[in-house]
């Protein structure tokens, strides 16, 4: 499944057995008092692909490695092992200079538009900055027309009214629109969106989702949509991958995954999102709550087994691989 040589280049993005281990640096006190310090395996061997124009939803709880995956794809942090192929190029072996033209084609929209925009810059300079950095426009006039064009596209109109505004003069939804404009002004082919609506009010969320969908169609954008909300993933993506503790536990086409989930974690997530009252009444899908935030598991076991509602067979001794259970539907669980 994770043999790099077997991979063909028909996918736009190919992630192969990607790993990121954070070494926990500790101070004198921790060293003196703490017995076992283990490195954090934030992303632990994940493999997936995204086709041109396709949307993949990455689902999981906080701390499962969603954002680390996004950072790795952009090479904002360096992977410990594994490969990222983008349009046939191996991003993992490139240096900063080689990466620059690639980065123009992979862009990201961050979670919090209250933090991700420089408060001292106007909308026009925020959107113009990437154009300057990548030397994409010839002169000021060219740049200004490009800025106005993208602002119309993302709905900050009339443009004259917003050009000279600072982020604090925009609402949350407008800020996120400006952040999207900043990403899309470079005409990328791959967009990573990390919980782009979770800081926004319900009533403006749908506007941002529809905008992103429209732009995806218009620009034939591939996208990785990171969220903890299954209904949002269904709305935005053709395929969904469920991440648990640094591992993909299930992936499939959206309707297939939502109507026929197999992994106990996916089943629980769907049960909770469908109806909490049913979930409480049946308790079938109930998974164990952890006592502490920090759980250290030895390598070579199913990451989910301490919370799994089913009998443990091999789960403590062997890590399950992703197995194909149906067309494009893969599950990592010994019970399948």
């Amino acid at each position: 499944m994770s043999n790099p040589k077997a991979v063909t280049h028909d996918h736009l993005v190919d992630v192969i057995d990607l790993k990121k281990v954070f070494e926990t640096r500790s101070g004198m006190l921790t060293r003196a008092f703490s017995r076992d310090r283990q490195p954090v395996r934030a992303v632990d061997g994940i493999t997936f692909h995204i086709d041109a124009g396709e949307g993949l939803g990455l689902i999981g709880e906080s701390g499962c490695g969603k954002t680390t995956t996004a950072m790795l794809l952009l090479r904002l942090i360096d992977p410990t092992a594994g490969q990222i192929l983008f349009d046939g190029l191996d991003l993992t072996s490139m240096n900063t200079r080689e990466l620059r033209p690639v980065r123009r084609r992979i862009q990201m929209v961050f979670q919090d538009p209250y933090e991700s925009l420089n408060p001292g810059k106007t909308v026009s300079s925020l959107i113009g900055e990437p154009l300057v950095v990548h030397r994409l426009t010839s002169g000021r006039r060219d740049r200004e027309s490009r800025i106005a064009e993208i602002m119309e596209q993302i709905g900050l109109v009339p443009t004259e009214e917003y050009l000279k505004r600072f982020p604090h003069q925009l609402s949350g939804g407008q800020r996120q629109r400006a952040a999207i404009a900043r990403a899309l002004v470079l005409e990328p082919v791959f967009l990573i969106a990390d919980e782009p609506t979770s800081m926004l009010d319900v009533s403006v969320r749908a506007g941002i989702l529809n905008l992103l969908q429209g732009l995806r169609d218009e620009m034939h954008l591939a996208s990785l949509f990171i969220t903890h909300d299954l209904a949002l993933a269904r709305y935005m993506c053709e395929r969904i991958a469920v991440l648990y503790n640094g591992k993909i536990v299930e992936t499939g086409e959206r309707e297939e995954l939502l109507t026929n989930p197999i992994h106990p974690y996916t089943r629980a997530l769907i049960a909770v999102a469908s109806s909490l009252s049913d979930f409480w009444a049946r308790k079938q899908e109930m998974i164990t709550e952890l006592d502490t935030d920090w759980i250290q598991l030895p390598e070579g076991c199913c990451r989910f087994h301490p919370r799994c509602p089913h009998e443990h067979g091999d789960c403590e001794n062997r890590e399950p691989d992703l197995v194909e259970v149906g067309p494009k539907h893969w599950v990592a669980c010994h019970r399948t």
Binding site: E61, S203, R205, A231, L276, E289
Partner: protein, 331 residues
């Protein structure tokens, strides 16, 4: 929604914050009744006044804010007539709050047991020993092993800390529990379990619960009734069951239509145009009219009252009958 025998009755409660720029009318003329054993969801966008309303019920509004009018009846007692000293006895004993962020609500340098014992002893004359054994019972009730009473907050997970703050809120067996976004920020699984606990305790202890939340699907799923608040005003008060199929107020309709679904037909979601009004200078007439697709001239002139509709729900819209309510059936 009937007021007879209600545990909590609010009549025309208004709370404002007086800042340099003017008076922020955070809550205006809210009337609401909550029965014993009822779970009511208070839903609205951020800044709509839902937390201010919750804090007003406990009279926890600090300067520059002030409750400027109305009556708050809890169990036949008008809290507005109570002094701060008297309120201190009522809070926690009769009405308790689970705050939004358990991580910040617990004192990091005291063992959780000590914190619960302290709150029990501040409200009841009991021996330290009795308070400790009560604390262990409370923790057991929320699913935490009694031997963990001597652990510090950092030794618990987020969900477990939220359980500790629930145990703390229940320490003096309140009749009314306010949960202010108490599960926001927790993971969905943990949220499911914490809310399940609140739900279980509510029915076994016959508590009334006010669930303050921005998550409409969640509230519709688990509460008995629903109060939708917009710009400090109640715009619709209805039974939660079946609400998603027929919201009456255009704002409620907008909220329902803005949320993607996990099963069934996938409809295109729509956002509500515009943004919530400035509460220092709220619009004339209906506060929602600048964002309303159905607004007519009257909406900008007269503020609609919250009136009873044919099916018993309350809605504040001049054209409620168009949307399935009946504006002319006056209570």
């Amino acid at each position: 929604m009937t007021e007879i025998g209600a545990l909590l009755k609010l009549r025309d409660v208004s709370t404002s914050f007086f800042i340099d720029q003017g008076e922020v009318k955070a809550v205006s003329d809210v009337s609401l009744a909550v029965r014993r054993g009822e779970m009511i969801g208070l839903v609205g966008e951020s800044g709509c006044g839902k937390t201010t309303l919750g804090l007003s019920i406990m009279k926890l509004i600090d300067a520059p804010g002030r409750i400027i009018g109305g009556e708050i009846w809890l169990n036949g007692v008008d809290l507005m007539q109570k002094t701060e000293k008297e309120m201190r006895r009522i809070r926690w004993k009769d009405v308790a709050l689970i705050p939004q962020s358990a991580m910040n609500a617990l004192n990091p340098v005291f063992k959780i047991g000590q914190q619960i014992v302290e709150s029990i002893r501040a409200h009841e004359r009991v021996t330290t020993k009795a308070a400790w054994s009560r604390t262990k019972e409370l923790l057991d009730m929320v699913g935490i092993k009694a031997e963990r009473v001597r652990d510090y907050p950092h030794e618990f997970s987020g969900g477990m800390k939220q359980r500790v703050s629930i145990a703390m809120a229940l320490a003096c067996s309140p009749e009314l529990l306010l949960s202010d976004e108490s599960t926001t920020g927790l993971d969905v699984m943990t949220e499911a379990q914490v809310l399940g606990l609140i739900n279980e305790l509510q029915s076994s202890l016959r508590m009334a619960v006010i669930l303050i939340s921005h998550d409409l699907p969640l509230v519709l799923d688990i509460s008995d009734s629903l109060a939708i608040i917009y710009a400090g005003k109640l715009v619709e008060l209805a039974e939660a069951k079946g609400f998603a199929a027929r919201p009456v107020h255009p704002y409620s309709q907008g909220l329902i239509h803005s949320i993607p679904r996990i099963h069934g037909e996938q409809e295109t979601c729509e956002s509500i145009p515009g943004s919530p009004p400035d509460l220092i200078h709220p619009p004339e007439g209906c506060k929602f009219h600048p964002r309303c697709a159905f607004a007519e001239p009257v909406c900008g002139e007269d503020e609609p009252e919250l009136l009873e509709q044919a099916d018993g729900r309350l809605a504040a819209c001049h054209f409620a009958e168009r949307f399935g309510g009946r504006g002319d059936v006056q209570s």
